[in-house]
């Protein structure tokens, strides 16, 4: 099968986004459990609006991470509030996060070297 240019860019874009999205989500639940809404908001805030996740893409991602055993969801009830689903990182998730982090750094450094941009 041959991919058109457009299709190819779109696939690359999607894969890149998916790969980095996983990294983002894992690093955000590294310190403490968070619920889905909070995760979406945090990514938006910290990327200053550059990266945004819609509900339609955020939750499937979370479910996939959960299915792979990298995070674990848990309903938590607080007095006077509705229960919410909090996600925490699992030991397996920690390992993957560590690997992805260093992989990401290498990747960024490699791209920078190719593009001729000196690291700051």
């Amino acid at each position: 099968m041959v991919l058109t240019y457009m299709e190819a860019t779109s696939v690359l874009d999607r894969e890149l986004k998916k790969g980095s999205a996983e990294l983002l989500l894992l690093s955000l639940v590294e310190d403490r459990p968070r619920h889905g809404y909070e995760l979406g908001k945090l990514i938006e805030q910290r990327s200053r609006g550059v990266v945004q996740f819609h509900v339609a893409s955020l939750y499937p991602l979370l479910y996939r991470l959960e299915r792979r055993g990298l995070i674990q969801g848990r309903w938590v009830e607080r007095a006077g509030q509705r229960r919410r689903r909090f996600y925490r990182i699992t030991p397996a998730g920690r390992k993957v996060l560590q690997a992805q982090r260093s992989g990401w750094r290498e990747f960024v450094a490699a791209i920078d070297r190719v593009l001729g941009v000196r690291p700051a």
């Binding site: 889905g36 809404y37 979406g40 819609h54 509900v55 339609a56 893409s57 939750y59 499937p60 991602l61 979370l62 479910y63 996939r64 959960e66 299915r67 674990q72 969801g73 848990r74 309903w75 509705r82 919410r84 689903r85």
Partner: protein, 913 residues
């Protein structure tokens, strides 16, 4: 505001997700959308704008559905679950998962786990302890080669069939004839016992039991020495020529510190030097479980070591003082051996009609004969009773844990329901729950083993005197460990199965609904728990009634008049023959010993008897004057004791008519006797026994009755009155005698002084059985006291467990009915009414349990008839008292939660929902 949940549901509806999973996804996404909507409103957007913005999040609907379908295929519920589906076959992985999950669950519920562990460990520990004893008594094979082809040979006598003494020892001449004349055995050995005093090695001179054995004794058994050798045939050849001895491992350790150079060296026994030729392996202490020996001497040495009655009758065919065992010839069976012995018996009865008339021989497997075969049934009954009691305790513990599990399962219902809805099969859930029970039971088994390790030592330390020589092996060997493992496993299944089956069938619809405080099926839980608690109450009542019966029996036993004065009396036994004294020197020693002891200031009276009080008896057949003494059937088997002047005064047995013995009743004088009241009435009914005369079978004596003594107990407190007569020790010498010393005050203070007085007369003489009559009576009462104590402990334990169970269900019920109680109180019910309501319901459970328990106890108690003294098995005091105790405890256990119900504030209760 739009219905967010509906919006999400529409987009995932076609995915055919698990309903439960779908509900969660909808809930989670709807929350997110709602929050985004609220945020947009806060930023100043209109409601319509905010709704559009939020719904835009779901823009890529089909992609969302696709992604979710892929991502959410696997369950990821809030509860940490072990899902497992119908089709899974990886049993090992599943089991490991189950086990880890079970460990987590147990670790999480520490209180529950501790309570369950403790009650189970006590039950399992008690079972292991008793099993150790039972196994040592009945199941441990003797440490000999091929025990299955070894038999013990016994004499039978038509005249005393069915008197509890059917199997008797054998006489040495008969043993020799059987050995030489039967061909059903490949070899036959014989032996007898004798006490010896040992002065070598560490410690005081000591009296030990010796086995005087035929030269082939060890060869027939197939027992080899651990060090050195056993006897050679020559050593049993020329009488008195080989002063050799084989000793037990225990004696070697205790007295000689396990010094291997002892082999080939001499030790001093009865003042003679014997060369130790061998040391036996650790577990071997002879062929009788309850009577172990420490030294073995060849029978060719009998003149040097055996004394008194046994030596005098060494070659007498009538005197049954020998024991014999044999190895069956290859291919021969025990039945064939019995037949061959019967035939040999008939021949010997014809050849020696005067001695062997009506006597014959029989065989029993050596393993069975190792426990006194005449008493074997009583041992088995006692063993079965103890096993029964501890099994009861374990059952109660199981009931308790099952109850705890049920209570907890009710709390876990939602979890289980979720798992069922995720596709876990009922089998899988039940297995998970059973794994938890099994883990609990195994942990309890480990704890129980620890408990057994301590308690069997404690139990053995308080054994009675008659077990002093017992050679029981109470080690926690693989057999015991296997037993513990097995009962732990069964226990896990026992208390886990019912809750597991019950809980693995949760009512899905109900359980998955929003949490409610009122469970509509709560009553079903409650009724199963009710039944369990009623069962616990019933079982604990059985144990309690058992304890009550033995307590009453003990009380009755303490009321029994032993016929002698039991206060301020001490005993001390010695054997003059073991010092090499003949009858004349022995009599002189007796006279001096009594004289010296009487000089002590705290001694009021002192005298000698051949058999101590409560020490059993010798029996002879007596004939009133005028009856043909050649036919034993005309005589009566009667117990006798040889006593010195002053015995009746010292012992406190009253002489009710005639006179006691005096210094004049000595050798050469007219033969006299004092008989007890029972003998006087039975032998000379309606006439005055004093002045009557009688003969003893096999003797030329004609004895005149000079006095009548009161009846006493001679062996056990429960025995029926028996004929008994006393002969003067000075006319009928006995090489062993017991000093009876009556003191002015506490006899324990006089023990040391009395012992020193006797020891200055004969420094090397071992003094045995130095004790007060109180201690002796304590030992006589050992069995009932032990039974009462153990049943008491277990009964109390059972009561505590049952009370806990009652408390548990009533608390649960009260908690469930808080609202109902609130309504009743709001409608005017008083605290007393509420209290009555709860108490009545609880007491109905307890009452039905008590009724059931009484019936079960009534039936079970019948099995104890032979072990109870002076009361019926339906003793009303024991039953009534224990039922009252149970009701009291149960009532208290109900009262606490019932009172809590009365303090319910109607307002709070009604606001509950």
């Amino acid at each position: 505001m739009p219905d967010w949940a509906q919006a999400v549901r529409e987009r995932v509806a076609g995915l055919k997700l698990d309903p439960c999973r779908e509900a969660e996804i909808v809930e989670e996404l709807a929350q997110d959308l709602e929050q985004r909507y609220a945020e947009a409103l806060a930023r100043g957007a209109t409601q319509a704008e905010a709704a559009v913005e939020a719904l835009a999040e779901l823009r890529d609907g089909p992609a969302l559905a696709r992604e979710i379908a892929r991502a959410a295929a696997a369950p990821s519920l809030a509860l940490s679950l072990v899902p497992g589906g119908e089709g899974r076959v990886n049993v090992f992985a599943d089991s490991w998962q189950d086990l880890r999950y079970a460990a987590r669950v147990l670790a999480k519920n520490r209180g529950f786990s501790a309570a369950a562990l403790l009650s189970l460990a006590l039950g399992i520990g008690a079972n292991t302890t008793i099993f150790t004893v039972v196994k040592a008594l009945f199941l441990s094979p003797l440490p000999v080669h091929d025990v299955g082809s070894l038999v013990s040979i016994f004499t039978t006598d038509e005249r005393n069939k069915g008197q509890g003494n059917d199997l008797m020892p054998i006489s040495r001449p008969n043993y020799q004839d059987l050995r030489d004349q039967t061909d059903v055995f490949s070899s036959v050995a014989g032996f007898t016992f004798t006490p010896l005093s040992i002065t070598s090695g560490a410690g005081d001179p000591e009296e030990i039991q010796a086995c005087v054995a035929s030269g082939n004794y060890f060869e027939v058994l197939g027992v080899k020495a651990a060090y050195g050798r056993t006897f050679t045939p020559e050593e049993d050849g020329v009488p008195g020529a080989h002063q050799v001895v084989v000793i037990s491992h225990g004696l070697w350790q205790n007295r000689f510190g396990g010094d291997r150079s002892l082999v080939g060296n001499t030790i001093r026994l009865n003042g003679l030097d014997f060369t130790v030729v061998g040391i036996l392996p650790p577990r071997f202490r002879g062929v009788f479980t309850l009577f172990g020996t420490d030294v073995w001497v060849p029978q060719a040495m009998y003149q040097q070591v055996v004394s008194g009655f046994v030596r005098e009758n060494w070659d007498d065919r009538r005197t049954l003082t020998f024991f014999s065992f044999a190895r069956l010839a290859p291919g021969a069976s025990v039945e064939q051996a019995k037949a061959a012995l019967g035939a040999a018996g008939r021949q010997l009865a014809q050849a020696f009609p005067r001695d062997n008339d009506q006597r014959s021989f029989t065989a029993l497997p050596l393993a069975e004969a190792a426990l006194n075969p005449n008493r074997r049934e009583a041992f088995v009954a006692a063993g079965a009773a103890m096993m029964g009691v501890v099994a009861l305790v374990l059952l109660i513990a199981c009931g308790n844990v099952a109850n705890l599990l049920l209570a907890r399962a009710a709390g876990r219902e939602r979890e289980l329901a979720v798992r069922v809805s995720l596709g876990a099969s009922r089998y899988r859930l039940a297995r998970q729950l059973l794994t938890e029970s099994a883990l609990l039971a195994l942990l309890a088994g480990g704890l129980g083993l620890l408990f057994a390790h301590w308690s069997r030592k404690a139990l053995w330390a308080v054994r009675p005197a008659f077990l002093e020589q017992a050679a029981l092996d109470l080690s926690l060997d693989p057999g015991v460990l296997g037993f513990t493992l097995a009962i732990s496993g069964l226990t896990g299944l026992g208390f886990g199965l019912l809750p597991a089956l019950r809980a693995s069938r949760p009512s899905l619809a109900l359980a998955l609904k929003e949490r409610t405080s009122l469970r509509s099926d709560a009553n079903r839980w409650f009724s199963l728990r009710n039944a369990l608690v009623a069962g616990q109450v019933a079982l604990s009542l059985v144990a309690l009634v058992g304890a009550g019966l033995f307590l009453r029996s003990l009380h009755q036993a303490l009321q029994i008049d032993p016929g002698f004065e039991s206060r301020n009396l001490m005993l001390l036994s010695f054997n003059v023959a073991a010092q090499g004294m003949d009858a004349a020197r022995g009599q002189e020693f007796y006279r001096q010993a009594v004289e010296r002891v009487r000089e002590l200031p705290m001694v009021r009276a002192a005298s000698l008897a051949s058999t101590p009080l409560m020490g059993g008896f010798l029996s002879r057949t007596v004939f009133p004057e005028g009856v043909d003494t050649s036919d034993r059937r005309g005589g009566r088997l009667t117990n006798l004791n040889q006593v010195d002047p002053g015995f009746f005064e010292a012992s406190g047995i009253p002489v009710v008519r005639g006179r006691a013995f005096t210094e004049a009743d000595r050798e050469g004088g007219p033969m006299v006797a004092v008989v007890n009241q029972t003998m006087a009435q039975r032998v000379w009914p309606g006439t005055d026994a004093v002045g009557q005369r009688f003969r003893v079978f096999g003797e030329s004596w004609i004895i005149e009755v000079v006095g009548i003594a009161g009846d006493a107990k001679y062996e056990s407190l429960g025995e029926a009155p028996a004929s008994h007569f006393y002969l003067p020790l000075r006319q009928h010498f006995s090489p062993g005698a017991t000093l009876h010393v009556r003191t002015t005050s506490d006899p324990t203070a006089a023990l040391g002084a009395v012992r020193r007085q006797v020891q200055t007369l004969a420094p090397g003489m071992p003094l045995v059985g130095v004790q007060t009559i109180g201690t002796l009576l304590d030992q006589v009462l050992w069995a009932p006291r032990m039974a009462a104590t153990m049943l008491g402990i277990f009964g109390a334990l059972a009561l505590a467990l049952a009370a806990l169970g009652v408390h548990g269900v009533v608390s649960y019920s009260v908690a469930q009915r808080t609202q109902e109680v609130g309504i009743r109180m709001a409608l005017g019910a008083k605290a007393a009414d509420v209290l009555r309501l709860v108490m009545l319901q609880a007491l109905a459970i307890v009452g039905s349990g008590a009724l059931l328990g009484s019936l079960a106890a009534f039936v079970a108690a019948r099995g104890l008839a032979s072990l109870l003294l002076g009361i019926s098995t339906a003793d009303p005091l024991a039953f009534g008292g224990m039922v009252a105790l149970l009701l009291l405890a149960a009532g208290f256990a109900c009262y606490l939660p019932a009172r809590r119900a009365t303090s319910v504030d109607p307002l709070v209760a009604l606001r509950y929902e």
